[in-house]
Amino acid sequence: MSNGNHLNHQPTAEPAITVKSQRKAIASYVIGFISSIILTFVAYTLVANRVLSGWSLAYALLGLGLVQLVFQLVCFLHLGQEREPRWKLLVFDFTLLVLVIVVFGSLWIMGHLNYHMMLPSNTDTYMREHEGL
């Protein structure tokens, strides 16, 4: 590393930058970029060409989104690549836990609320259509 700008006598905080480490980092971004484009197009095609429908479509799209999330977290945000102790990863895991509780908890509660607050006039149709009664 020969940037020769240590005139201000400040200790440099950046880890040594070698051609090899730069090349590796660029490769990681290229992998993240290309896989994200592919996943985006696959998801788009599923909807545009009506390959799937209903819940199977929703699950497939969410799955593709989650795969893209992992690619971007690893390739763009370098999650899990820090040295021990991995504080960033720990905070991320905890956030994931809170998110699952908040999102699925809300959907669960609100779904049940909708069900129990149904207008009496709608219960017959609902039972016929959704519960096979």
């Binding site: 440099t12 950046e14 985006t40 209903g54 479509l57 929703a58 763009f76 945000l77």
Partner: protein, 196 residues
Amino acid sequence: MSREVAEAEFNRDKTEFGFWVYLMTDCILFGTLFATYVVLQPNTFGGPGPRELFSLPFVLTETLILLTSSFTCGLAVLAAKRRDLMWTYVLFTLTFLLGAAFLSMELYEFNRMVHEGNSWTRSGFLSAFFTLVGTHGLHITAGLIWMFTLLWQMGSKEITDRMVRRLSLLSMFWHFLDVVWIFIFTIVYLIGVGGV
């Protein structure tokens, strides 16, 4: 490794960690907005639903623009780390222009919807839609202002360690916004149009 260098590195990691914790709390903010959106999405109050309102090719273009800007932003920080002033400028300017293009497309879409009488007051679905996508748009706006400020601050001087740190925090923010957009694209647009 001398003690001074170790200390400087510790401080740099501390700043990055603090910013990461902020991003994670922002995740929770978006998580609550996503939950609200999914709950309110069927409540169109006789108004138009996702299928009538969204044009998928338009949103796909937006998605690809934001994704590319996330990529160029990552490369820009790498250029800054090797103290390459010219490439840092070129790549960050490209990121800025792509971000601005994304924001203009989003504002164009909002404007069109409001003019057709489908603003946030139309239905529960539209309230939740504008809140979720609008919050993301506000973040993008903040990111663009931040990016402009840093580029201006950098001037034509050499890139200092401090500047590299600021730029890498900005790129974390920008990548994070792209991660949130994956889910807006999937949940609001693709599932909205594909239907459940």
